[in-house]
């Protein structure tokens, strides 16, 4: 699997070239175009993860996670993927270690990478959207997406990142969720809400913008929906 990242930094797309035996796994809806010899199959995040009805239930619960698998037949093929929001993409190569990815930031990976749902986070109490994490392990390239540009932080010791700005981080880092201020009231009104405190040694991918903050800034201009 060879990846080319084009049109950076806001309208970034990735062109993935696959040889005949290779399979690429993407987040559902990520494919924008592909060569005619590509076949597609869909699964839930875990092989044998309870079948289609359980998956549908999760879809209704807003916790669905479907993956598409692309494989070329009769020669090599190419596949274009892009995320919904404007922003950058980054390629990360796994070789045995684990990477924890915020669910919205996972775009694609080689099939040699295992994708599992990890810690199911709290529901965001402002928007009601659920945040969960994916555990990626194995060998091979992974493509991550971000809202805005991506920057990396090499942590050695301690570091704090707002949860809305995390794209992914090495599993070697311990993390704990806490409030930004001294009390819940000050963190809530301070607008920082909930932060991640990382400890140890490893790499964090951060995004320059917080999708949920942007979403809330749109609220006054959007048409009301019925409850």
């Amino acid at each position: 699997m060879k990846t080319e990242i084009l049109h950076r930094h806001s309208n970034t797309a990735a062109k993935i070239s696959l040889s005949e035996e290779e399979t690429c796994t993407t987040e559902s809806g990520a494919m924008i175009a592909m060569s005619g010899n590509m076949s597609i199959s869909t699964s839930t995040y875990k092989k044998g993860g309870g079948g289609i009805f359980k998956a549908a239930k999760r879809l209704l619960a807003g916790e669905s996670f479907f993956l598409n698998h692309f494989q070329p037949s009769g020669g090599s093929g190419e596949l274009w993927v892009s995320p919904v929001l404007t922003g950058d993409l980054v390629e990360h190569n796994l070789s045995g270690e684990k990477l924890i990815v915020q669910s919205g930031s996972f775009l694609a990976a080689a099939s040699t990478v295992n994708v599992d749902v990890g810690w199911q986070g709290f529901k965001n109490f402002l928007s009601g959207e659920s945040l969960f994490w994916l555990n990626l392990s194995g060998d091979g390239p992974v493509i991550l997406s971000a809202f805005g540009v991506i920057y990396t932080v090499e942590v050695d010791g301690e570091y704090i990142v707002d949860t809305g700005h995390i794209v992914a981080f090495d599993e070697t880092l311990n993390f704990s969720i806490s409030k930004a201020g001294k009390s819940w009231i000050s963190s809530f009104f301070g607008g920082e809400g909930i932060i991640c405190r990382f400890k140890g040694k490893g790499k964090i991918y951060c995004q320059s913008h917080n999708p949920s903050s942007f979403g809330h800034s749109l609220t006054p201009s959007l048409k009301p929906r019925r409850q």
Partner: protein, 223 residues
């Protein structure tokens, strides 16, 4: 016909087109896309494309800008941020997705084309395409970056990401994979292009973005 002098700046994120119109010449521009221009450029509103343009949900009007008594610059900014592409038509035909038209030379003919019930209904965007034929410059835009693909054989594109394609390509709308993929892949329906010719796709989809905003909509109290 030689192409007009033009520059595209801030591509691919916030592309802005500047066309240098030679004295006495005219450029057709999508209504409301003009951002700024020299004072010697005169504007005329024409109902080019006829009633058909109403059906494509584009605004009915195309404005004609003519440089009088000397050259003049016009700056054209499409409604959505994204990429801009220029091609020269020379007898060949290009189809644009209904919101893709930005500007063209006077000798480019624009028509709306019914895609047929099956193709149009399922292709998500619109039942109509804009058919561009004739000779001269054609500019089109996208929401997101534009990727040019030289199709030889077959190519598959998610229906929401098609910007433009040459007439030499044939296309069919179909579902991807099996039944499970149809409902859960998030890809829904795709266009399968065949033949040889150029195809332009965009890297973002404005519908997908609009759907993303759904949880942020204010909730109306039902009382």
């Amino acid at each position: 016909m030689s192409s007009m002098k033009h520059t595209i700046t801030c591509s691919p994120d916030y592309s802005l087109l500047t066309v240098n119109i030679p004295a006495g010449n005219t450029v057709k521009v999508e209504a409301s896309a003009m951002a700024a221009m020299d004072t010697n450029i005169k504007m005329k509103t024409r109902m080019k494309g006829g009633l058909g343009r109403l059906l494509t949900r584009e605004s009915l009007f195309i404005n004609e800008f003519t440089a009088e008594g000397g050259d003049g610059d016009i700056m054209i900014a499409p409604g959505s941020p994204g990429d801009l592409k220029h091609i020269s038509l020379d007898g060949n035909v290009v189809y644009l997705q209904n919101s893709g038209y930005v500007a063209s030379g006077l000798d480019v003919t624009l028509e709306t084309k019914w895609q047929g019930m099956m193709k149009g209904f399922f292709s998500g965007e619109s039942l109509f395409l804009i058919k561009c034929s004739g000779k001269g410059d054609l500019w089109f835009n996208s929401y997101g970056g534009i990727i040019e693909i030289d199709v030889k054989g077959e190519y598959i594109v998610d229906t929401g990401y098609i910007v433009a394609f040459e007439e030499t390509l044939d296309y069919n709308v179909q579902s991807v994979g099996g039944l499970k993929s149809l409902f859960f892949s998030g890809e829904g329906l795709v266009c399968r292009f065949s033949g040889s010719g150029k195809l332009w796709i965009q890297t973002r989809n404005v519908m997908a973005f609009a759907n993303w905003t759904f949880p942020y909509r204010p909730v109306k109290k039902s009382n």
